[in-house]
């Protein structure tokens, strides 16, 4: 028997725009006093209407562009309707059949393409707080998060291991941060993950697919890995006992318990919601033209894959290129010093990546110290240099006539005389000093 996990991922990213998706309340809600950042629109008061945030939509499109998506010329918002106390209007404004971006992909290290189905714009909900007030169990609603712009990135089920899923997630995370559209801080819930998992089983009877399982709201890459791995095992076990295969009606939703490291059943398809999507009548549809899309494309910064490719082209080893790309400060330190005299880029990159250099201090000085090798005793080397110059007056004369290429000859002699132990950089400098002085 051979089996292959099939994993798709839905990733929600909270954008870091100044204001919310459909009103002018501040979008930054983390740690704010409850219900201090609300207005008639995000509270869903009677008569209030949404006005879309242009910047948020641009950021959504930028995410789509960086994921190689097609940007749809015609797009619209839809109402996704369900009841929950943290949903102020009784519907969430989202995108159903005409998202801003569709059909993109991400390339993993192995060269494998993970297809992106869609990237769409929506709004976040409020938050419930279950607590005890005056000895009574109560649920309180905080609407500070209500209406914060949220981008949903939906992949196809192209990942075949938890490792691939993790790599995909890290790629998305790096990309979002490189774009600067979200801090994507997992602990603050700025990036939330929902894997959908099932398993393809090939045995003597043919090919079988286990029922689809969606795992809700995971907020760390490692939990995603653990949840996927648990779920694959669980599904294989279940299949061996029941032989139940995937059907149009048996998709289930499960939660992840990060303490027990297991998933647990939340909802079956029979209980699935009918969201009664329909076009949001309060927001006219969008018609985007090529000029606008190209303008947005031109504002994209260098993205991780492009940065890594550029570093490798400069001679940096791929593994160090990746480290520099992942750490913005290191990358800046590298770029800032790579052109300086006497610095070898590959060497500098490896020193920074291996944390041999403290990027908070004088980088060239540390570099010199770390790269100096052989005899560095100045007085001893000065003697060697002086002797070589004295023994070769005709070559010195050539140098003075402008044949500066003879410097190599002098350095070679010095290396020979010291059995290759001298530090070539120091010797070169000494020759230059003496030749220009004498």
């Amino acid at each position: 028997m051979k089996y292959t996990p099939l994993i798709g991922l839905e990733v929600h990213v909270e954008l870091n725009t100044l204001s919310k998706m459909f009103c002018s309340c501040p979008a930054d809600h983390f740690g704010k006093e409850p219900n201090t950042q609300t207005c008639p629109v995000c509270l869903g008061l009677p008569g209030a209407l949404p006005v879309p945030n242009k910047k948020a939509i641009e950021n959504c499109i930028k995410i789509g562009l960086s994921l190689n998506c097609t940007i749809n010329k015609l797009s619209k918002f839809d109402r996704k309707q369900y009841f929950y106390p943290d949903l102020s209007k009784g519907y969430q404004i989202s995108q159903y059949d005409q998202p801003f971006c569709s059909d993109g992909f991400v390339v993993l290290e192995s060269g494998k393409k993970i297809r992106i189905e869609r990237v769409h714009q929506e709004e976040d909900t409020g938050k419930l707080q279950h607590t005890i007030l005056n000895g009574k169990k109560v649920s309180l609603v905080d609407f500070n998060r209500s209406g914060v712009p949220l981008v949903e990135i939906v992949s196809r089920p192209d990942m075949e291991s938890s490792g691939e899923a993790k790599e995909y997630l890290k790629k998305i995370h790096g990309l979002i941060r490189a774009l600067g559209v979200s801090s994507a801080d997992m602990e603050k819930g700025q990036m939330r993950l929902e894997p959908t998992v099932n398993v393809k089983i090939e045995d003597d009877h043919g090919i079988h697919y286990t029922p689809l399982v969606e795992i809700k709201n995971i907020n760390s890459f490692n939990f995603a890995v653990q949840a996927i791995e648990y779920e694959v095992k669980r599904q294989l076990d279940e299949f061996s006992r029941t032989a139940i295969e995937k059907s149009a009606t048996n998709k289930t939703t499960r939660g992840y318990d990060s303490v027990k490291k297991t998933t647990f059943l939340q909802r079956t398809k029979e209980e699935a919601k009918d969201y009664r999507y329909f076009p949001e009548p309060d927001i006219p549809p969008f018609a985007l033209n090529d000029t606008y899309i190209d303008e947005l494309r031109n504002t994209l910064p260098l993205l991780p894959d492009q940065i890594i490719a550029a570093l490798i082209a400069e001679g940096v080893e791929p593994k160090y290129a990746k480290v520099l790309c992942d750490n913005k400060d290191s990358y800046i330190a590298y770029n800032h010093n790579k052109e300086k005299e006497g610095i070898d880029r590959a060497k500098l990159a490896s020193l920074i990546a291996n944390k041999k250099i403290d990027i908070g201090k004088d980088i060239p000085a540390q570099y010199q110290k770390l790269t100096q090798s052989g005899i560095t005793d100045r007085q001893m080397l000065e003697k060697v240099v002086a002797q070589i110059l004295a023994e070769n007056p005709s070559v010195v004369a050539d140098y003075k006539k402008g044949k500066t290429g003879v410097l190599g000859f002098f350095v070679g002699q010095a290396m020979k005389n010291t059995n290759g132990q001298a530090n070539p950089q120091i010797i070169s400098k000494l020759f230059l000093d003496l030749l220009s002085g004498s």
Partner: protein, 473 residues
Amino acid sequence: MKDLHTLTIDEVHAGYRNGDFTCTDLVRHLLNRIEKYNPKLNIFLRLNPEVLDQAARIDREIKEKGINRPLLGIPFAIKDNFLTVGIETTASSNILKGFMPQYESSVTQKLLDAGAIFLGKTNMDSFAHGSSTETSDFGPTLNPWNIEYLPGGSSGGSAAAIAAGLATAALGSETAGSIRQPAAWCGVTGFKPTYGRAGRYGCIAMASSTDSPGPIARSVYDCAKILEVIAGQDKFDATTSPKPTDKYSACSGQGSLAGMKIGLIKEYLLPEMRDDVKKLIYDSADKLSSLGAQVEEVSLMDPKYSIGVYTVIQRSEVSSNLARFDGIRFGHERDRFNDENKRRIMLGTYTLSAGYYDAYYKKALAVRTKIINEFADLYKSYDALIGAVSPGPALKVGASKDQPMFGEMQDMLLEASSVAGLTSASVPCGFVDGLPIGLQITCDQFQEMKALSIAHCFQKNTDFVKFPDLNSL
């Protein structure tokens, strides 16, 4: 001098200027009439507790600076679905009883900025679900022409307030007929602007894709003056148009209709329509033609199709728009929705459900596009289309009982123009059995100026604006 409660906006301003009366005098006069007639007619749900203080402030302003604002000191009746700070707002629904708005609606704010003064909030069908005011949770409004009859709706209170002389001007809103039909049944002038011409922010939503705030007043000219104030882009309503507005009050300059081509919609002269109603429409067509217009009969899609389209779209949007009244906020449980509200929520939920969406909502959108195209074709050849506002005069109190499609049937001549987002005037064009009949003059989107000009010219040259005798009440 004319009675204060019969004056138009310009006449009120002339009175202020000449020192004939003050804003306080006018407001007191109207409050007295409200005190006297409202218990019988049930037009105002509640009054503005600050109105006399505000009138005194306006009198000081007039004394110091003269009349520098277009609606300064004009007493308005405001339909109860517009949020007004300081005045309870319920949309005539018990579920919002006690609701004090946290913000002012865009159009009432514009009226206030223009100097208007609000007398109070008028009765309507609850959440605008109806064309009779009979679905109001606070009882129906009665028609000032005959209290055995309905005023129409949903802006029935606002129309009746003008007819009964309880306010100088009124604000209504129309989703499909809710300004034009009560204006017709009450014998006053109503004007529905193009969808997106006046902002909906702060107007409790009925069907978001057709809701349009608009004026109900003594004359076309007054409607134009009010539209001039409330029209224009609303930064809180993404569906409003950035197109510049016109100086609508210039409609009074229309001396003749020479060069205008007007279509009389054949299908709107319904087979079941009374002959005396039909005659008034033909007479109106003759009048327009005598004023210089070229009037021809034109053909339009059978109104029965627009009933279907409108019903599906409107119920779907209603089911969504009322979801926020979830019983958690606003103080009351959902059992306060009345039968009509519940019927609409249920039908709308059904038409949007998986498996039915394509058959109902999607198909309705497709026919809506057909209706829009049909009008667009006609407006290539015609400046305006005319017809009756309503199949007949006002119906008797109780007529909507056990008639879940009552509103749709009464508004069957208005639904197509509403789903197409057109602009349209409703002007009095005669009486049958002592009850007023209205003529609709409907123009293409953003052709408010044209609709107002034709309607003004018609009104100036006819004599159908009358006042009912309330002494018998």
